[in-house]
Subunit: 425 residues, 2 copies
Amino acid sequence: MNLHRKPIPVTQAIQRVMDSSHVLETEIIDLEEADNRILAEDIVAAHAIPPFDKSPYDGFAIRAEDTCHASKENPVTFKVIEEIGAGHRASRPINSGEAVRIMTGAEIPEAANCVAMFEICQSFEQDGQAYMTIKRTMENDQNIIKRASETAEGTLLTEKGTLVNPGVKALLATFGYANVEVYKKPVVGVFATGTELLDIDQPLEPGKIRNSNAYMVLSQLKRSGAEAIYFGKLADDFESSYKAITEALKEVDVLITTGGVSVGDYDLMPLIYEKLNAEVLFNKIAMRPGSVTTAARIDGQMLFGLSGNPSACYVGFELYAYPYIQKLLKKGSPYHSVVDAYLGSDFGKPNPFTRFIRGFLSYEGGNVVVYPAGMDKSAVVTSLARTNVLIVLKSGTRGYRKGEQVQAVLLEEDRGAKHFELKGK
Amino acid sequence: MNLHRKPIPVTQAIQRVMDSSHVLETEIIDLEEADNRILAEDIVAAHAIPPFDKSPYDGFAIRAEDTCHASKENPVTFKVIEEIGAGHRASRPINSGEAVRIMTGAEIPEAANCVAMFEICQSFEQDGQAYMTIKRTMENDQNIIKRASETAEGTLLTEKGTLVNPGVKALLATFGYANVEVYKKPVVGVFATGTELLDIDQPLEPGKIRNSNAYMVLSQLKRSGAEAIYFGKLADDFESSYKAITEALKEVDVLITTGGVSVGDYDLMPLIYEKLNAEVLFNKIAMRPGSVTTAARIDGQMLFGLSGNPSACYVGFELYAYPYIQKLLKKGSPYHSVVDAYLGSDFGKPNPFTRFIRGFLSYEGGNVVVYPAGMDKSAVVTSLARTNVLIVLKSGTRGYRKGEQVQAVLLEEDRGAKHFELKGK
């Protein structure tokens, strides 16, 4: 086995993964199921919004010209011929001197051209007939939301590649997309490798540890929008591991293994890639943790060999597997956002490699501040719980000081970092 | 009907909702299903991490004192008595002059107290027996990850109220939580009201519009972690609406209606709250959009009457229903984060009310910048698609200028705002 792998830079490793292509089909699903899926069709306004002239207020629809002589001294009286709520239409066009009592959202009756709000009108009844008077003039189109004033028919509203969030869902419902075309989710298989691994429901045994990486990666996969399949654990035995991986490859678009990618006597993944005739894209990256993260390709299938070390496994997934999955999902922008941020505390250690430090984000007075999530020994699983960013610390001979500008990779929504409190009253 | 409702400030309205209490039970679920659920138990380290002294490298486990005279001139030779991979244990303690070939993650054999990495050792074989020589001294505990060095037994790792993300899931797996206690999801029912509403699979008809609010709210509910039930549409008819709402209340913790909360002739919700004997917490808020957002309580159940206007409906949900749902879920911090940010463009209109402008977030050189998502007429559903923040513009007599500091309510993960590109090499 080659003990002297040549490390490549992080950006080059990402590029090699992203240059690989594999096309998934689309599928038509119910709108109800479309949350967090990626649109496979452009959404075009099939009709104008609003589709008709409508009233923004409760009031009386009239002809503005009928009010041209109205004043305090000279109130003008209209005959109220009918009443319409939203969803109903006037039965006939209005004539001069007539009014229709109209509710918010209802369609403006034919021949009416303005709406006088209740507040400026006086209603009364006489001999069973409703009337109203108005003491001021109205203008043509006053208090009318014109047809197509928000969206013209044919407008491109959102492009394929868009993630469906509540706003996009409202848009789809508005234009009658009871079904919607989305990209299929890539099917991603997961194996944990290592004889030392116990199942989570097994009691601890001497020399062994529980399998946490597989559960973590399955959770990362869910967060990434993929369809995950857990294939279980593999002991450090070549033949049985090779067979299980070969079988799994029949079912997946991507296969992720944790562990076994280093250069120890029991690191079987390099031998398995070789026997599978997979093209190894890289097996050493100039970064910490996760330097042995490996990617390999067999035709359209991608294999990610993540480290068995929890932190390295986590980082390797987010930097390489995550954007590849987004690419398969056809998401407009497949990468995690990378933002400039200020370091919230000193990070003393000099280091010869680019480091990805688990951390969390804070918003302070308009600035983006990031804090390391704790001691960063690469096997510490506990600090992963707090992580929502990876702080990027470039290689260098000195440490980093609080307040220095760094970059941060955003991993998830910032949830409830600060209580809801509006300044001032 | 009272046309003159008295508006209360936003923070007071939030407070009235959050002061209401209703306790949900907990449930035990499989770890596999725990993503995005809220822990109902503190997670305490049931054992130390690591649970035993282990090797961080591939090498030879020896007694440091055996190397005290080792040097280039005086290499010391060890008899390699066995080989252990991770998950295996040495069969017996080592004696002076003995070494165990050990792999990363394996337990340090008894009586060994350091690990000499392969790189500094010379292996050879003689008469079928493996040996290794070393030309330098080693120290006690060198290259050993000590038991409990990461986490001591009994450490509180994460508290109840924590959202399960991939890191928390890894933690749970590490400590053998095959099942985990979480808070039950609140069951939230949704009705859309209004005779003008068409189903999403119906063709457009004169005077009618499609029901988009219900789908939007259902999607907001999913995003908030609630269990949503859609009860359908209600026409503007008191008796049938009252009956449907009474029936629905038998099944839910929270009931959300869209529309019908204003003071028009067809706004039935105020009458329904009255007949239900519900305590109205507020029905007018000093904000735009969504000033008629209503909250009412019947015993432990909360009813939110959101506006029928799409933007007002969206804002009303996020400001009032979202934190209440998080409270029911027992999330440690129930509120959306509110952050200071710089306004990315002018917002000219002066306005007498606090406004919540839909917008999106951008990270620019360490600063948090927010941009209005488009024209902000309150019925414009299309601009909701881009929204990931609500920009808070306090009431005032003048407009706001680009670069001014404002507050922003964060609604969702920032997804792929910028391509992955690490500055420098």
